[in-house]
Amino acid sequence: MRPHLHLWLIPILPLVGAAINGLLGRRFSHRVVTLVGNVFVGASCAWAWRVFAQFLSLPHQMVPYVHDYATWIRAGSFAASYGLYLDQLSMVMVLVVTSVGFLIHIYSIGYMAHEGGYYRFFSYLNLFMFFMLTLVLGNNYLAMFIGWEGVGLSSYLLIGFFFLRDSAASAGKKAFIVTRIGDFGFLIALFLLIKHFGSLDFGRLFPAISRLGVENAGPGLLTAIGLLLMTGAAGKSAQLPLYVWLPDAMEGPTPVSALIHAATMVTAGVYMVARSNVIFSRAPSAMLVVAIIGCLTALFAATIGMAQTDIKKVLAYSTISQLGYMFLACGVAAFSAGIFHLMTHAFFKGLLFLAAGSVIHSLDGEQDMRRMGGLRKHIPWTFWTMTAATFAIAGIPPFAGFFSKDEILWNAFASQHGSWIFWAVGVLTAFLTSFYMFRLWFLTFFGDFRGIEAGIGEHGYGHIHESPKVMLIPLAILAVLSVVGGWIGWPQMIGGTQRFEHFLSPVFAAHAEEAAVVGAKHSAEPLLAGISVLAALLGLFLALLLYWWRRDLPDKIAAALGGLYTAVRDKYYVDEGYDAAFVEPLIKGSTYILWRGIDAGAIDATANESAEGAEHVSDALRHMQSGNVRSYAGWVAAGAAVVIAYMVYLGVR
């Protein structure tokens, strides 16, 4: 018999929390809101772990564990159901989402304590959890799409959380619209799937697809679907060319940035690509596109990250580039590596954001690194946790980042879909990454405090305060995770058994052989790993040089580079370009053609004209109403006569 895992509890619990807080929270006391906001997420997290325990003990013929609760839509042959789908992939995602989510919830208790709309915040956050879990657990693309849109919605709500700030509101709108462009592609992909396979159900779709051959002989249907899916993923996961919303999304509260725009939502695209591995593995050209986009994004965002001065912006761009890594992994069919990096990234990037949040919190909302410095002594907890995260992202062994990043780089080089170019770009990106991360590290925590003249902490350092425990505990936990989190993927070359990859292998078994690394290259693995570590250390050294020993150099270099530097600092003017290219024409066009022309000219005019016409006609007809009953009777009788005449006509005919 099959054990009943009661998966539905996992998504439903946060929804309940959201409902309670959202509907009644206004009347609740601060304490109650906190309780409701966290208990449900905590419960869902606990249940997720319990499910994990049961899941490990499931006989593998029952994996994936699918459970249909009810029929949702039935239209002709097409049917979608309320169903949940649990396999290794979604298991990992669920664990990451619930655990990191829960930690960030706890963190927010402290961080948001003094903000208005406290209950609103938690209600939104729980809502996000619900949708994210729906996205991850749904047993068909439609459910996934619902979750997809739902997280978009809650991200919109949370980015615009301080909706009184104009920038926040517009940032929210920007995020919503830009991701929507990607969703468009996603939708079309779904339509294609329905049209050709008649179902969106993973259980029915993937076998059907895996019967098709690999489209080596030029692009075909699967390629199209793959590319469209990729568009959606690029929108959600902030890849080129749709990444522009993520930096602006930093307008939201820091926990939001940590949870949604670093740990979970933005990785939905990666999850989706990995989930669709069956499709991609049969569309090499689509995979190539994925890989190229991934690695371009990684490099591109990293370069921008170097010149940012806003601490959160730096982290945002680094998020983009790390996502680029993940796509690169997927692009070279190393899905498990991508997911692995997704997990570790969730740990250390979440940690980074939270720590940055703690820094900002300690400085009363100051985000500019040029006004920081020397905080090491004042906020030691934050400092140490941040250090762990920085080393992790920089990819210095034995921190978590190293293993996943090394995994990706190795696959990028060795996989039969990969090539040495991907690898080279990856390594370069790794160098840049470690450089700007350590730059941030040095600027923030070392040297002397530069915030006085900016009016922060007039009473000297005494004013700069460490964050409360409730914020530090999650930091500590995540720090531990970002140290040891990578060890479950300990590579073979140093006597590891890549447990993680093996755990995920059933999901990607469909093409395990394709991803299989050509044995001959194995000898190269230690060498490549060494090179990437070297790159990371180089980055560290450069940062040390520029921001510790020779503090004057950066400005000189910037001056020397001149235009190039400003270009980088101003993010290559991409936003301005988009404005000129799309936004302006759109506004103009809709103003002059759609509004003045079509709406006012055609539609409204039609309505008004017809209204007047009706008025005239009825004004004429109204004289039939003589008030004389017998005239009415006459009309009725005439009508009856006509009807009867028609009947006669029928009878005769």
Binding site: G627, R630, A637
Partner: protein, 100 residues
């Protein structure tokens, strides 16, 4: 041996008379009577059909028609009384305020 169409024609004639009565009479009460006449004509047709098809449903319908006629008469005559109270007349041509 009476052909059914005779009954139908009879009911048609009665119905038409009811219609013309409604058209030419001026007394509210008489108008109501004309309506009753039409209803009766319809009843006759119903019974005739019931008879032709040897099925009782038609007669049951006549029963219902009678019920409705009774209700309608009660309410209608009450309305007539009310009208008479206010307008002091039963002439339909004088009860013609409902117009533009």
């Amino acid at each position: 041996m009476v052909p059914i169409s005779y009954y139908l024609v009879l009911s048609a004639i009665l119905f038409a008379l009811g219609v013309v009565g409604f058209l030419i009479k001026r007394n509210l009460i008489t108008l109501f009577m004309s309506i009753e006449l039409m209803l009766n004509a319809v009843n006759l047709a119903f019974v005739a059909f019931a008879w032709q098809w040897k099925s009782l449903n038609g007669q049951v319908f006549v029963f219902f028609v009678m019920v409705v006629a009774a209700a309608e008469a009660a309410v209608g005559l009450a309305i007539i009384i009310a009208v008479f109270r206010t307008r002091e007349t039963l002439n339909i041509d004088r009860v013609n305020l409902l117009k533009l």
